[in-house]
Symmetry: C2
Subunit: 334 residues, 2 copies
């Protein structure tokens, strides 16, 4: 069987050049590519990506660890990562595994340490499970996406600030009875980012002297979660809040749907604000804090390629832009 060395020698180029020409990865001139391909044909050389990888010491693959892609944020982020990696000729190995599962435990304990990647992107990491620490032990370039990033380069919005700004928007409109939908009184059940959003809500109320008015309706960060929690909150006329902060747009949209079903007009009788600027936010005229997970995916790949090139460079933390988007789900209280 011919090797890449035989092909390189026949074509009169280095092994690395022959490898680049045959893999289609990295630049070679058209003339060189044709000479290498012709040599490969003459020798019946079969391109073999494992052999290419041994020759170059690189796998041209990036591993990504994230929750299952069943929420808008993760789907958009993954699309952004994929776009950037594809443009750079990297493959993507996906490990989409639920937080806190046995599968996730196995992934961190015995799967990832045995795999070779040029780098790893970790999304929605849970600090309680020491996940970043275990990824760092693999010694590979690492970038995390999300609010927890101890010891890694990272890209994230400031979740605490996002929820604070959303809550302050309602306070400025004159609301004092503002509930939070989609948190939980049991912090063990909250993701790290959602816990920070709850903290931002509480902080804004406290700063405005409204700490005693804080009310949290525990719910999953989904449309049905927000719907059920809001229906419970809004059912009793006498205890009904005048405004709701959703932990994310999905929960806020669920709250709007619940209000409509109960005959409560948004925004005249109830203001609702979300966080994310989800693809459905516009359809519900939802005021929200906008962020772009797709751009965060591009940014994560940019940080990762820099770490792959300069492993010893200082860590970089990128604060992804977020900003209030005012539509018509918020108004002064009646």
């Amino acid at each position: 069987m011919s090797t890449i060395a035989d092909v390189a020698s026949r074509a009169g180029v280095s092994k690395a050049t022959a490898s680049r020409a045959l893999s289609g990865r990295g630049y070679v001139s058209e003339a060189t590519r044709q000479r290498v391909e012709s040599a490969a044909r003459d020798l019946s050389y079969v391109a073999h990506s494992s052999a290419t990888s041994l020759a170059t010491g690189r796998t041209q693959t990036v591993g990504i660890v994230m929750p299952p892609v069943d929420r808008w944020f993760f789907a958009e982020l993954l699309a952004g990562v994929q776009e950037s990696l594809f443009a750079l000729d990297y493959d993507l190995s996906l490990y989409g595994v639920p937080e806190g599962s046995k599968t996730r435990e196995r992934l961190f304990e015995s799967v990832l340490p045995g795999r070779r990647f040029d780098g790893i992107i970790a999304v929605g990491i849970q600090p309680s499970a020491h996940e970043l620490e275990r990824l760092q032990r693999t010694g590979r370039p690492l970038v995390s996406v999300g609010p927890y990033s101890d010891g890694s380069s990272a890209v994230s919005i400031d979740d605490t600030a996002a929820a604070r700004i959303a809550t302050e928007h309602l306070i400025e409109l004159g609301h004092t009875d503002i509930a939070f939908v989609g948190g939980s009184t049991d912090t063990a059940e909250l993701s790290f980012g959602d816990a920070q959003r709850l903290e931002g809500y509480r902080g804004a109320l406290q700063a405005a002297g409204l700490a005693a008015h804080a009310r949290v309706a525990g719910a999953a960060p989904t449309m049905p979660g927000g719907y059920t929690a809001a229906a419970g909150l809004l059912g009793d006329r006498r205890r009904r809040p005048t405004a709701i902060v959703g932990v994310c747009d999905e929960a806020a949209i669920g709250a709007i749907i619940a209000a409509r079903r109960l005959g409560i007009a948004v925004p005249t009788e109830l203001s609702v604000v979300g966080i994310d600027d989800h693809e459905h936010a516009d359809m519900f005229a939802l005021t929200t804090i906008g962020q772009s997970p797709r751009d965060q995916g591009h940014e994560a790949v940019r940080l990762l390629t820099r770490r792959m090139e300069h492993p010893d460079a200082p860590l970089e933390l990128v604060d992804a832009a977020s900003a209030l988007v005012v539509r018509s789900s918020t108004a002064p209280p009646r």
Copy 2:
């Protein structure tokens, strides 16, 4: 540098056994694993997955080609594929690329032919682009998921039948003025599966002598798409249909939200039926045709592993179960 052969020789086992022990893939006894690991330590052998791959001739990786995972169906399907592959110790290389894009063209022309996988799963393939034909040329075991599967093993629901059953349900309730939301009059814009659903709707009307009543409101197969199309259909009281078939649940839910905003009661003034049994269908009490994309993901991996073991076995076509789920968005017309 020590090789896997050195490690195997020192541990007194075959190269394949040493490779299995160090990669954690495939069975070896605990005693053997310890002997191999100890030999690897003594020789400072660095596990190298490319070397493992050269030794075994397998990459333990399955490639998956699909549209971006921004719709429920694809996210659930991907989760199912991932669950099954993870249990079998396969990695997943994801190529999530929009249909009809230049990126997709490049993927099929120059990326996939150069990659080594043990098998490929192709989802939402567009026959017009000859995508399956080009994947078959790579010579790798192949399974497709979705209605188009020429020359490959495949798993799919019968989209034509699903839309026919949904439409017949409305006809049996007594409806004659039934519109389809989420199709397009321009078939070039429709995915192959959505075109089959449109055909199923037309077929049911024709069989009931209602062909002249067919009305298609072109729209993207999304909640905002269904909302906009339905708002247009329902705006004119005198031409308002009494029932709507959504091309998928997202479009049907959009139609329900549009009806509520217009003050049209579902189901007393308007019946709505969807296809999929999306995670939000229950929240909207949507009558629909249920299918499980997650189970289809498991099934795709089962078919693929069988083709990897028996490449010359006859092709298998698995008709994934779907069935009418009656909730309260449908009723006889007033």
